[in-house]
């Protein structure tokens, strides 16, 4: 088979990568120099970069408060969802009456996007008295069907013989879960952690609805509010963007493969 030259492929891919990365580079550059807001034409490389816009963001915007809110909500979501999803998945590996109905129910819940529930979800959260609270922000995300099925697949893959031997040895069920099934499912746990973290960290619509005062805002909400106060004529806005994107970026780069696997396996489940 004739070997085709590879450099056109490289050229094309580099071009596409530039288009995908261009906006990030531009934002980073502007956050470091503050030009391109009034200066025209803009320079390609940063001229006299400084980090003072980041200092501005740190002090003028309650960035730490937003970060804390996002972190608290995300922690609740990650812990709760990993526990709840694993529990539900384990339950689904056992035979019981009504199992098929439950599975059908879960599959049909996948058809209901979050956006189709916002009005009643708001009313429910209000009735529960959870408006403008961390728990209220976290609750809708504390269980997702995709992750339940990821866990279930992982639990189903545990060799039957292992479980039977353990049961014959008289091990109580909870020890079987803790000592056999969970350690063999670290991949599912990691996927759950990553996906639930990203979904709760990036969540914008729900905080927009539920948060009623500035002190409770999460990062995406804080960013959007800042934008509406000060439009895009301050370098601080772009420093804010970079600071907001950094944690997500860091997590993605640390866990690329698992991230991609989790998203695509979730996608193929519907």
């Amino acid at each position: 088979m004739k070997r085709a030259p590879t450099w056109p492929v490289h050229v094309a891919l580099v071009g596409v990568s530039l288009v995908m990365l261009g906006p990030f580079y531009w934002v980073l550059k502007t956050s470091l120099t503050g030009e391109n807001i009034f200066a025209y034409p803009p320079a390609l490389l940063p001229v006299a970069p400084h980090v003072f816009y980041y200092v501005d963001v740190w002090y003028y915007i309650p960035f730490v408060r937003f970060l804390l809110n996002s972190a608290i909500v995300s922690t609740i979501v990650v812990l709760a969802s990993t526990a709840f999803n694993a529990m539900a998945a384990y339950a689904l590996t056992q035979p019981f009456r009504g199992k098929r109905a439950v599975i059908l129910l879960l599959l049909s819940c996948m058809l209901i996007p979050f956006q189709a529930t916002i009005v009643p979800a708001y009313l429910i959260t209000k009735e529960l008295g959870l408006l403008n609270s961390h728990l209220g922000l976290a609750l809708p995300l504390c269980s997702t069907i995709i992750c339940i099925f990821v866990f279930k697949a992982s639990f189903d893959a545990v060799p039957r013989s292992l479980l039977d031997a353990a049961r014959l040895d008289g091990l109580p069920e909870w020890r079987i879960i803790l000592l056999i099934m969970l350690p063999l499912s670290t991949s599912a746990i990691a996927t759950n952690v990553i996906l639930s973290f990203i979904w709760s960290w990036n969540n914008f619509l729900w905080p927009l609805i539920v948060v009623r005062n500035e002190a409770m805002q999460t990062l995406p909400l804080g960013l959007s509010t800042f934008l509406s106060y000060l439009e895009n004529t301050t370098g601080a806005l772009y420093a804010f963007c970079v600071m907001v994107l950094a944690p997500g970026l860091l997590l993605f780069l640390l866990e690329q493969r698992r991230f991609i696997q989790g998203l695509t396996s979730g996608a193929t489940k519907g």
Binding site: V51, F52, D56, L230, L254
Partner: protein
């Protein structure tokens, strides 16, 4: 794979923790809120008795914060400021006023010594 994963996180988070601790230590040692500088006249000679105004620059406005008077060698000092973005301006009747000099710091209350003196220029 497990060992590699733990190493990755330990390295990244450990480095972040170390950097944060080191930065906090540096800040704690240097945050007396000191601003030192000199005022000179149009001829370059120090100007005693000039008024120096310290203003805070917020995102939208300038807020006056403190004033000081220069000593015999034209030097002035501000203490215990809690700002990170400020503007200095000096003036003396009969001699002139200086341009507004912005000072941007890395953290609130950072000690800072002006490199260039505030140069008074006659109006007009």
């Amino acid at each position: 794979m497990g060992g590699g994963l733990r190493n990755r996180y330990v390295v990244v988070l450990g480095t972040l923790a170390l950097l944060t601790a080191a930065w906090n230590a540096y800040v704690a040692l240097h945050d007396d809120g000191l601003i030192l500088g000199r005022v000179v006249g149009p001829d370059g000679r120090p100007v005693p008795g000039a008024t120096v105004r310290l203003q805070e620059r917020t995102l939208t406005t300038l807020e006056p914060r403190a004033t000081a008077v220069t000593g015999p060698a034209g030097e002035f000092r501000f203490t215990r400021h809690r700002l990170h973005h400020l503007v200095l301006e000096a003036a003396k009747d009969g001699v002139g006023r200086s341009p507004r000099v912005p000072v941007r710091l890395y953290f609130r209350g950072q000690n800072h010594t002006l490199l260039a003196p505030l140069r008074l220029a006659p109006p007009g």
